[in-house]
Symmetry: C2
Subunit: 249 residues, 2 copies
């Protein structure tokens, strides 16, 4: 069956979550990148742990809690108001340079986001960055009260878009998300964004490598979870090449 629908992950796939570093660096000079890396790692852990414990709180709460954890583990004091300033960046993340042009080139398909994001923060982000013009729907996992990679999260694609798994291409740069979608029966394109060679070079003397480089490399290497994505692409810009033009239904 031809691919009629392309569904994108938001954070890390259409939007550069590393762009929060501009705000964290302003708040804590010299620590911005470190905060950004730990924050992301714990944010993901908390989505998985809360899903497993059946103690769901939405992504805004989890994002705030993982930020608090991060500042605490780094021994950084803060005022409550500062948390809000940093959190605000999550509704104003930078799209990747190829995000808009790719969505534009794929307008013959139905396009949507499936994200862990809470509905309000996701809607604000999409609107603030003008992506709403190109997307047919923005779907939050919130209605299922669990996070990706729970199969219940991915099943929202079928229930919200009416698209059978066989006609969907799911796109994510997050290895665990790509594998989660694959496990849920979808066709998956994984955005690698860095080449293995670049990563190996960054890790040439790993005993000495900066923690930031290590954290980044760890988020970008495909996981060993017994499944593989259908496609590996270098960036969003590679997607139109995977999808021959069709007449939009």
């Amino acid at each position: 069956m031809a691919i009629s629908t392309v569904v994108f992950d938001a954070y890390g796939t259409l939007y550069d979550i590393q762009s929060v570093a501009s705000v964290t660096e302003q708040a804590f000079p010299g620590r911005g990148d470190m905060i950004t890396q730990i924050w992301r790692m714990k944010q993901l852990e908390y989505t998985w742990l809360r899903s497993l414990m059946r103690r769901y709180e939405d992504f805004e709460a989890v994002t705030r809690q993982s930020l608090v954890y991060t500042l605490r583990v780094l021994g950084l004091g803060y005022e409550e108001a500062l948390l809000e300033v940093i959190m605000d960046k999550y509704v104003n993340l930078d799209p990747y340079p190829d995000t808009l042009s790719t969505l534009e080139r794929l307008q013959d398909r139905k396009l949507a986001i499936l994200s862990n994001g809470a509905p309000a923060m996701l809607d604000a982000l999409v609107r603030n960055t003008g992506l709403d013009r190109f997307l047919d729907k923005t779907i939050s996992v919130d209605s299922r009260a669990t996070f990706k990679p729970s199969p219940e999260a991915y099943s929202l694609i079928e229930s919200e878009l009416g698209a059978a798994p066989a006609e969907v291409l799911f796109v994510s740069s997050n290895p665990w998300d790509a594998i989660g979608a694959k496990a849920a029966g979808l066709t998956v394109a994984w955005i690698e964004r860095v080449t293995p060679e670049a990563m190996a070079a960054a890790c040439e003397s790993c005993a000495l490598v900066a923690p930031l480089t290590m954290f980044k490399a760890m988020r970008m290497q495909m996981d060993e979870l017994g499944l593989a994505p259908d496609h590996r692409v270098r960036g969003l810009f590679d997607l139109p090449g995977l999808l021959p033009p069709i007449a939009r239904p």
Copy 2:
């Protein structure tokens, strides 16, 4: 109700998982500690991701897969036989210095392990280290085909030991495990093992801190998951002080 039963996590609580560094260092001189830290982090991630995806494989498989990931992300080549040499350390981990003496002092209670470990690797570990003499039971999550912190994993305590949650003290040094047990209705002692002061000192200049220090600090700080353990203790040696002597039923 009085505490009649003390249930311990194994890896990181009774056994020092950092002790695998002796083997990883021998296999990859200068990288042993880095391998150990990344391996542990990904091992945990994989337990959570596989549980969420409902793609359970046992802890031996997950441990091997996360080791493969680690060597790959560090760009280290290896022979299959080397994986077996490293994996073998998991059935010969070092107990903490206060493990045996604490179990001995708590012999007036029913004592057990509840662990993510696969039954064969867990039984071998307990036997190889002589802890079987002090434990009434070693329980693996394997029969539930999910990992901690799923509530189904903790419910094995009641079904396998016949102990109601109110008479159990669950002991873990892993923050997510302590919170998971708490969410499942147990009384929990969290072993902090390092003081917040020691951690803050290690993080004094976190932008420059070695990745290993950071990884370790991140595993030892209590998580922001909306729940708190009932007790914080410095080591296993503190437990007898929490538990007044009783006549064993």
